[in-house]
Symmetry: C2
Subunit: 174 residues, 2 copies
């Protein structure tokens, strides 16, 4: 059975809207969804990124009430009939997020076995056939095929099959 490794934030968990709201509130700004790019921020204003990550780290429930990305529950249930499904999430930047992420997965994806949940940082450690992720850096050194889940921050990235939503993932893999 082939194996799919699926990222959480921005792929199944709608992290960005809450981050934009938190960021705007904290810095008294009015950035839109597409104007806040955490990846550019890491390069251009790392002190702002550190500050916001500290804020998020202090709220151990930040990741607990994110919305589910549309279609992900239905399509993952379908994929589970033909593939082995793992959730592979980079939790090490905000280590206080472990428990909230674990609870969130149990609530919204109860059919995914706890033993198939992976908290990691460097995703080249993952042994799978496909990795669905919005961060192409995670495909570096990955042994399988990276499938890029579109997000405002990765629109310029090329070199991978790209999907815009879960319907496209279903079309691609089922």
């Amino acid at each position: 059975m082939k194996r799919i490794a699926i990222d959480m934030d921005e792929v199944i968990a709608d992290f960005h809207p809450k981050m934009v709201a938190t960021f705007n509130h904290h810095f008294s700004l009015k950035l839109t969804h597409s104007e806040l790019n955490l990846f550019s921020l890491a390069a251009e204003k790392p002190e702002m990124l550190r500050e916001i990550f500290t804020l998020v780290s202090e709220d151990s429930d930040f990741f607990g009430d994110l919305e589910v990305i549309e279609g992900s529950q239905r399509v993952i249930a379908e994929l589970g009939k033909r593939y082995e499904i793992f959730i592979t999430t980079a939790a090490m930047q905000v280590p206080t997020s472990f428990n909230a992420k674990f609870r969130w997965l149990n609530t919204h994806f109860p059919s995914i076995k706890p033993s198939n949940i992976v908290f990691c940082g460097n995703k080249s450690i993952i042994n799978a056939d496909y990795m669905i992720d919005d961060n192409a850096e995670n495909f570096s050194g990955f042994c399988g095929e990276g499938i890029l889940y579109s997000a405002p921050h990765n629109l310029q990235v090329t070199g991978y099959r790209r999907v815009k939503n879960w319907q496209e993932i279903e079309n691609l893999l089922m």
Copy 2:
């Protein structure tokens, strides 16, 4: 650079003595180190195992003050010069252990990057050349070579290279 995936409990963190003490105290028993075998217990008295895991789960610091297994710090520092080191620990059975385990690693193995720490369940998801683990079940489906770290519960297991201590790991891999 070849990669080594290293387990925590019973390989670098001395989990068993604290578990024996906790178990004896809770059930008013006087089992020795070698008499308590959690793997046999899972098969023979699963209700006792569930009870003790519930107890451990309620103590979010249980994993925070374990002793370091002798020699592991020195040898892992040496191995780090020649291999990429990942810590791969099965934390999903006691999900409340994430934070304590993460802090323990930062305290006792500060040179291991957080991005190289992996909390998982099914370790067949790990892509590495070697896996050092006391639980041979974790070698099932693993793409590299499993190296069995001796423990009372695995003395009957064959089919893998076996090491009794960190000096033997150094001799084997350096």
